[in-house]
Symmetry: C2
Subunit: 459 residues, 2 copies
């Protein structure tokens, strides 16, 4: 390895430690070595060497996976191939609205480079934007707060460069909006969590920068009203609608307890809050449009505030963006990242709440998420720390089963945006069509016959 | 076969004829039989029977392929499996902005069903909308006039139902906006032109219906100005920009000659015309925004007209929509459906024009297309009918080589939106990375080991 990347770029022993534990500290493994190549050719050489010696590879970016996807297993037989040193922006084309970036570019840096050139890269992750890297974002098909308008990470890619499991380089760095000249290979590697090859660079789609925005904070009594309101806002505000987030009362209670300088949006308290954001490149009066739209909805909206002032909007967003952090400080919980059709979000919450309360009367449910995408983060725990610890140790499987059964009834997915990683690798087998699993295994076998790419994850 | 679909749904001899020749009359083959199943189960049974008897299958929708993708080869050994009888809309979910349709639904009917429910399905094909079917649109990843804003057919799909080459049914009809629970299989079948399986149904993404529109007709002296103007309009009008089409002078000459009731947009004549369309769900003053944007561009726009009147816009669109028809009446031509990065469209036209004129001084070039997607339809012929006939017979290969060499220099694609079919199956081998072709062959071998799905097409 040292002959390929230089000895300073091969870490072993203690210095490999930070790369073997994930961001949340939930998964810890042991790496044979951590290798940090500086360009695609080095990646290819490392992979070739590993293939020859049958050494498994864990591709790693910012290591912010929430599913243990980017850390090695515990046997100490896998190398971590960390791409953070590959952080160049190779090309920027304002007229084509595209940029070519290496896998190790941090998401925040990609967004900033776009803005500096009066363009917009819409992938927005509330918690990890400064740490996660674009290669990992694409490998996990990251979601976030702008999917409603701009799509998932997969929808933001024009081309890829990938080092295949045998060390050959697929030079698919096209920057075309249309290309129907064969099978679309890029979509195989995007979202495969490094199990089919290593994404080393990508051509990203850019967008015009929104110039006007308006944000609403809306209180509703139940999620069913929220579902109908979403359809109403979309029909009336169209593509200016970029975010539609739902926050349950229990989320706010945690945020107020643990995060300083956070306030109730209204004097009265309500069961659910919605954060709705519009954006437009045209100099539109979006606050007026949003207000009119909310007023024309009919009964169900209990209270509302609309602003075009960035500071006021940021105060509301602070509540949403700090839910994960507040929950972390409160203690561990059983987390679910599920999706259902947008029209079934209220059904999901009602059915899952009932199923859990029937079995565990004291349970505390913290539900929030990207309602515009049908994506709910549905986290459960017990109120007391000690009680909660025992509860999770004993009942995690039972809780998952109750929640995922509802997801299945509603034709949803048990992993909406976080991926499978180690966390859901086994569970998915109970919820996915065996035929689809068979197709996945066949593709894995075809592209990675030695099984050296991120084994123990996804499949 | 008759035992599966009924004898009336198996056509042989003369009645099979219309299904064995494509829409343009360019490709004719011979079918062993034409089979018209009425539901997915019948498709699966037919495919199973074919697999057992080693009979190859040509999946067919509206048979409007421009590359001979949907007709059988000439040996009379392949059946045509036509999906036109499967034309039900299975489900419509206004709140989820999605609809579930069978493969045989005509595109125009899908669009109409969406509109009736106050929703918009954006796939728009100028020439074939009333005849082509959604299964074929997805199998070829169709493009059209709204890609700039809404993406290709591939981007408009949430889920698929596919009959695999062994007759098993993959039930991937999910209607989720986010699903990261394994490899994305749907993108393999979309754009595979029926070589990996048969798409029998799909869940389509819908959008809010635009309420306000504005259209501009703009004259420019060369394509380079058009490229810069596109970036300027996108930056100022953002996502309201849904079409940006370019039309060369030679196109208009053909249209005026062959299509009644067509007029010059301006008194003076120019080298290139642009059709720019904005649409918005909000009640915006788009004509004003478009006018201001054009005025702020600086020198280069020679003449312009902006309207929010539908009849005026339709008169301009008539010029664009009838180019193919006018050219058909004028006689055959050598057609190219190429794409380059949007920023290189003017380079492409300049270099290809020069290369062709140097070799064939009398050549007539008809260039038009979806400039917003970097997609140029670049058709060439000789002025006289007899001269042209000989020219095409003798020089088609030489012309293609000159044009495709420029495409390669600019990192473009020789098939932007029409696919490969029979037309470009051999040619693509000269222009695609051998590694990518190898990956495609491996995937084909994995999914269709007997090679019975649309052999002789794509790969």
């Amino acid at each position: 390895m040292s002959a390929i990347v230089g000895s300073a770029a091969v870490l072993t022993g203690e210095s490999a430690g930070p790369y073997s534990t994930d961001w949340r500290g939930r998964y810890s493994g042991k790496a044979l070595a951590v290798v940090l190549p500086s360009d695609t050719k080095q990646v290819a050489e490392v992979v070739k060497l590993c293939a020859a010696q049958r050494i498994a590879i864990v591709p790693q970016g910012g290591n912010t996976s929430l599913c243990g996807g980017s850390v090695p297993l515990s046997q100490g037989k896998q190398i971590v191939l960390n791409l953070s040193r590959m952080n160049r922006i190779r090309a920027f084309d304002s007229i084509n609205y595209s940029m070519t970036v290496e896998a190790g570019c941090k998401l925040a840096d990609v967004r900033e480079a776009a803005e500096k050139n009066n363009r917009f890269f819409p992938l927005g992750l509330t918690a990890t934007q400064k740490y996660c890297e674009i290669g990992g974002n694409l490998s996990t098909n990251a979601g976030g707060i702008n999917v409603l308008r701009y799509g998932n990470a997969r929808d933001l890619v024009l081309g890829l460069e990938v080092v295949l499991p045998d060390g050959r380089i697929w030079k698919g760095l096209r920057s075309l909006r249309k290309d129907n000249s064969g099978y679309d290979l890029k979509h195989l590697f995007i979202g495969a969590e490094g199990t089919l090859g290593i994404i080393t660079a990508a051509v990203l789609k850019l967008f015009p920068r929104p110039q006007s925005t308006a944000t609403a904070c809306v209180a509703v009594g139940d999620a069913e009203v929220a579902v109908r309101l979403l359809a109403h806002v979309r029909a009336n505000c169209g593509d200016t609608l970029s975010s539609f987030e739902i926050i349950s009362r229990s989320c706010l209670d945690l945020v107020y307890r643990h995060i300083p300088d956070t306030d109730e949006p209204f004097v009265r308290q309500y069961e659910y809050y919605l954060l709705i954001q519009l954006g437009d490149v045209l100099p539109s009066q979006l606050d007026g449009a949003l207000r009119t739209t909310l007023q024309s909805f009919g009964p169900g909206v209990l209270e509302q505030a609309v602003t075009s002032d960035a500071d006021t909007a940021e105060k509301w967003w602070k509540l949403r963006k700090n839910i994960s952090e507040a929950q972390k400080r409160e203690g561990v919980s059983i987390k679910h990242d599920i999706s259902v059709p947008v029209s079934r979000v209220a059904d999901f919450i009602a059915r899952a709440d009932t199923a859990l309360h029937n079995t565990f009367p004291d349970i505390r449910i913290v539900a929030f998420g990207h309602m515009g995408d049908g994506n709910v983060h549905y986290n459960v725990s017990m109120p007391g720390a000690e009680q909660n610890k025992d509860f999770i140790a004993q009942q995690e499987g039972a809780v998952n089963k109750l929640v995922y059964t509802v997801v299945r009834e509603l034709n949803g997915s048990i992993s909406a945006e976080h991926g499978l990683g180690q966390l859901k690798r086994d569970t998915i087998r109970d919820y996915k069509d065996p035929l689809e699993l068979e197709l996945m295994r066949n593709i894995k076998q075809t592209l990675d016959p030695l099984g050296l790419m991120n084994p123990g994850k996804v499949i």
